[in-house]
């Protein structure tokens, strides 16, 4: 482990909300704990009410770094098929090509086709049919073919 590696690690962490990192490699070991000060602010739950706010889903998978995450490029309602009767565009296990339609996000009555960003295999579908999705929300995980 070289200083350059750690530099790269810290740079990496800057953009994330990781609070702790431990790494052992070739006899080296590094543990990084990040700014828990601000992580400490927690606003109280806002009143009662049935509608739970949509939240960014945290994807924590072993070996996730090899996977490609397809995210929602706009806010809208997520559909896995072109119509309620039609079959889903893709299922877990489907082999997909870059540019292939994976799902639809409806916004303002417009059906926006979301395409695969890589060749590979769908390993996980993260959103249920008919659910609202946020901008940037992960929709699918794809294991790219090498």
């Amino acid at each position: 482990m070289e200083i350059e590696d750690i530099k790269a690690l810290l740079e990496l962490l800057k953009e994330t909300d990781v609070t702790e990192l431990e790494l052992e490699k070739e006899g080296s070991k590094v543990k990084i704990t990040r700014g828990r000060f601000y992580a400490a602010i927690e606003m109280p739950q806002q009143g009662p009410g049935p509608a739970a706010p949509p939240q960014l889903k945290h994807v924590e998978e072993a070996g996730t770094e090899r996977l490609v995450t397809v995210t929602a490029p706009l806010v809208g309602t997520f559909y896995r098929a072109s119509s309620p009767e039609a079959p889903a565009f893709v299922e877990v296990g489907t082999i997909v090509k870059k540019g292939q339609v994976l799902c639809i996000v409806e916004a303002m009555k417009l059906m926006n086709e979301i395409e695969s960003e890589a060749d590979g295999v769908i390993v996980k579908a993260l959103v249920e049919n008919g659910q609202p999705v946020e901008y940037g929300e992960p929709l699918f995980l794809i294991e790219p073919s090498v």
């Binding site: 700014g35 000060f37 601000y38 602010i41 606003m43 806002q46 009143g47 009410g49 509608a51 706010p53 949509p54 960014l56 706009l74 806010v75 809208g76 309602t77 916004a107 303002m108 417009l110 609202p132 946020e134 901008y135 940037g136 929300e137």
Partner: protein, 447 residues
């Protein structure tokens, strides 16, 4: 009443609207850009939706994303705050088309408010005095020269669709007209998408006084007195007060009547502000109509003991104005806009707030979305806090503001707090000798 409102804004005004909603028992939906994930308005809302990347065009100005969010969250109304989509008539129309209430005036009100030259024409015709100048837009440099000669120099060329100081050129003599005209045209086109210009007499060292109006859906209109907004730097307000120490009971009555006349002339709805120029001789000229909640609305709230944002929501939901009396101010209030800016050069200075401690105690109100550990993003407006001081009179409000500015600790970024301290210690300010030339004189005492 609405059960759920989407707030199409960020920062302190989004927090302000959330507070009003919570006090009214209305659920809130916060929208936010990727740069604003940790913002206070996101922390305080009942529901939150990320609507796009940092760029305002793709997030807070992204009409489809906002309307879609309103739909998927079952929001019944949208509060636009100020800036962003608040003065966009197409957005107000799109809300109506989607069956969502727009918390603000009608699209026609917004359209006229945005067209400064046309608004002046309408007001003049309805008997509200306006600054002498062109009656509508200029056809070219020839007509600019002709009118300038008639009204006398200095004159000012302004963009019809303008605001915030852009597309404005002062002309001191006939020779300057040609250049000023074309430069203003270019600036106006770049900033507002329209090169339409108008000209009027340039009045130096006047006061900028505005009147708050409320109008219900039945056409009843009342006013809540004036705000003094003469402390400006490049046509940007920095410190506002209510009431104006210049305004006598007689002048207040006249300003109020003119504001109501102006609102009636355009069948105004919801809350709005009529801006006037007032000369040292108490001549009053209509300047423009602001069709949204103002940044400086808290000073009126403090002296009137009334919540303007709640009023705005109640009026948008169709509630009538029931107040019978004419509202009279009690005490005095001052607002200082605290920007993340270099206090000497007024250059935005985003970054992380390493430590923050808010002032408190009697008469002090802080409206902010900032907190200890928050990073001010570089993508948006630099206003990070509004510090409001109330006192039983102007002198007490000034004393409070001074001690509150001393108590306010913001570390890690530069702010305009030192600038405000300078103003609040200035003899002319303390004695109420303020006009639109105040900041220039403060920075160039010799001039």
């Amino acid at each position: 009443m609405f059960k759920k409102i989407l707030i199409a804004n960020r920062g302190e005004i989004a927090v302000r609207v959330i507070r009003a909603c919570r006090e009214l028992g209305i659920r809130t939906v916060a929208v936010y850009s990727e740069a604003d994930k940790t913002n206070m308005h996101v922390r305080l809302a009942d529901e939150t939706i990320c609507i796009g990347p940092a760029s305002a065009e793709q997030s807070y100005l992204n009409v489809p994303a906002i309307l879609t969010t309103a739909e998927i969250t079952d929001s019944e109304a949208i509060h636009p705050g100020y800036g962003f989509l608040s003065e966009n008539p197409q957005f107000a129309e799109a809300c109506a088309a989607s069956g969502i209430a727009f918390i603000g005036p009608t699209p026609e009100n917004i359209r006229l408010g945005g067209d400064k030259s046309k608004a002046k024409q309408v007001m003049k015709r309805r008997g509200v005095p306006v600054v002498p100048g062109s009656d509508g837009p200029l056809s070219g440099t020839d007509s600019a020269v002709k009118i300038a000669k008639k009204i006398g120099f200095p004159a000012i060329i302004k963009a019809s669709m303008g605001g915030g100081g852009r597309g404005m050129k002062i002309i001191n003599n006939e020779e300057e007209i040609q250049d000023a005209f074309f430069m203003a045209q270019r600036e106006a086109l770049a900033a507002f998408g329209s090169s339409e210009l108008y000209i009027e007499k340039y009045l130096r060292n006047v006061r900028h006084i505005e009147v708050q109006v409320l109008a219900d859906s039945k056409g009843r209109i009342i006013h809540l007195g004036e705000r003094e907004c003469s402390i400006q730097r490049r046509h940007q307000k920095l410190i506002e007060e209510a009431p104006s120490c210049f305004v006598t009971e007689k002048l207040r009555k006249r300003l109020g009547e003119l504001a109501i006349k102006a609102a009636r002339a355009i069948k105004y709805r919801n809350i709005g502000t009529v801006e006037f120029i007032v000369t040292p001789e108490e001549e009053v000229y209509f300047m423009e109509f602001n069709t949204r909640v103002q940044v400086e609305h808290p000073v009126t709230e403090m002296v009137m003991g009334m919540d303007l944002v709640k009023q705005q929501i109640l009026l948008a939901s169709g509630q009538p104005i029931t107040a019978k009396k004419v509202f009279k101010p009690r005490g005095a209030a001052i607002e200082c806009r605290i920007n993340a800016e270099d206090p000497d050069r007024f250059i935005p200075c985003p970054g992380k707030i390493e430590f923050m401690h808010q002032p408190g105690g009697p008469g002090i109100r802080v409206d902010t979305a900032a907190y200890c550990g928050w990073t001010v993003p570089s993508h948006y407006d630099s206003l990070i806090a509004k510090l409001i001081a109330y006192g039983s009179n102007r002198q007490e409000a000034i004393a409070r503001m001074r001690r509150a500015l001393d108590e306010f600790v913001i570390e890690g970024i530069k702010t305009t707090i030192p600038f405000h301290k300078r103003v609040l210690e200035n003899k002319d300010f303390i004695e109420g000798r303020i006009d639109t030339g105040f900041i220039d004189r403060l920075n160039n005492p010799a001039a």
